[in-house]
């Protein structure tokens, strides 16, 4: 019958199994550098104007410990700090410390946000630390970091 022929033409009963087949995942390659490449320490320096960012429990960084897919890694940052006209969180910066361009985003907030929160999804090329830096309206910087284990790179 016609449909049997179709299956046959696709090689029914052809060569028997060899090894467990590999799914087509990109192999690890040397890290390519783009125009925007900027190492984490330099990027942080630019954002803080050289000031020190204190590690603080007020900065709640939520990223998965294990990312099943480096191309889509959810990141949420919340800063426990007032959002009043005179005292508020001015900005939240997110860095992926080992990406060639370590900068992911800089979010400039205002009291109209009500609460300092930001969420997005980032690409991580490999296992690394993700860092969130909060800039307060009084000019101080707070930060938090967490390591994310990437099982499959995001650049494939």
């Amino acid at each position: 019958m016609q449909r049997r022929d179709f299956l046959k033409s696709l090689g029914v009963g052809a060569a028997s199994a060899v090894v467990i087949p590999s799914m087509s995942f990109a192999a690890e390659a040397p890290k390519p550098r783009g125009k925007n490449a900027l190492a984490y320490n330099d990027a942080l320096g630019v954002a803080t104007g050289g000031k020190k960012a204190e590690v603080s429990a007020k900065v709640k960084l939520k990223v998965p410990e294990i990312a099943e897919n480096g191309a889509v890694v959810p990141v949420t940052v919340e800063v426990e700090h007032p959002m009043s006209e005179s005292d508020y969180v001015k900005a939240i910066h997110v860095y992926a410390t080992k990406n060639a361009n370590s900068r992911c985003i800089g979010v400039h907030l205002s009291p109209a946000n009500g609460e300092a929160m930001f969420a997005t999804r980032i690409k991580l090329g490999e296992t690394q630390e993700v860092v969130a830096v909060a800039e307060l309206s009084n000019g101080t910087f707070l930060m938090a970091s967490q390591s994310v284990k990437v099982t499959i790179g995001g650049c494939g």
Binding site: G11, K62, I66
Partner: protein
Amino acid sequence: MRKIAKIALCFTLFASLSYASEQFAMSDADRAMYEELLENNPADMMLASGGNLLEELGGDAAVAKFLGVKEDALAAYLAGFPRYLEKFGRVVSIDQMLQGMMHESGKKPYALKSNEMFNMSSYVKSLANEQPINIDINANEHMKKAYAFGKEVFDTKRGARGLSCYSCHNPSVIGTILRTQPLPDISAKGNASAATWPAYRMTKSNLATLQKRFQGCMENALLAVIPLGSPEMTALEVYFTHEAKGATIALPGLKR
């Protein structure tokens, strides 16, 4: 209401991950993070775009009219696809049904593999959200045959490695890790694949239908790729849909 469907979906999505070895096991907090992803599924945009395309063809009402069902019965009717349709003289999936509808109204049908068709057919299937899959493989001879044929395609070993879909999708291998990925349970007890596709694929950053997903496995397992909409593909969809019968449709899904 949609919310409930989504929670169920999270559960099926992450249930498959919990089979993984400790090396890849996610913590509850990790799972919660991924659940948040589902709240803002990029595929929502694609379905919205599909809805707009359908609007140009007369919207949901036009689909109901084409299928000869009342509008309030449309959702449950769509939850039974693929179906044998008199007009086509064969078993068809939603995308082919839409091609027929476009043709009948004098429009040039979108190709099955076009983004327009992925978006529009996914939107139409999402009208059945919250309905249980109610495919009836005993409805008529055609459905019976399609199911049997789908099972045959599923079980047939082919390709350079002599694999069948069954080789990787059978109860005894579910949860086994294949190159970092746990083999998913496609039945209503697990992923209920037919109820969670079309889905956004994070590795591909696009919306894919069930048939498109089948093609992905065919490529990866070195089986020659069967064309979308062919009798083999439709039969395979019938088989998968029957496997997930009773599961609540929750679209669009979100997959690795």
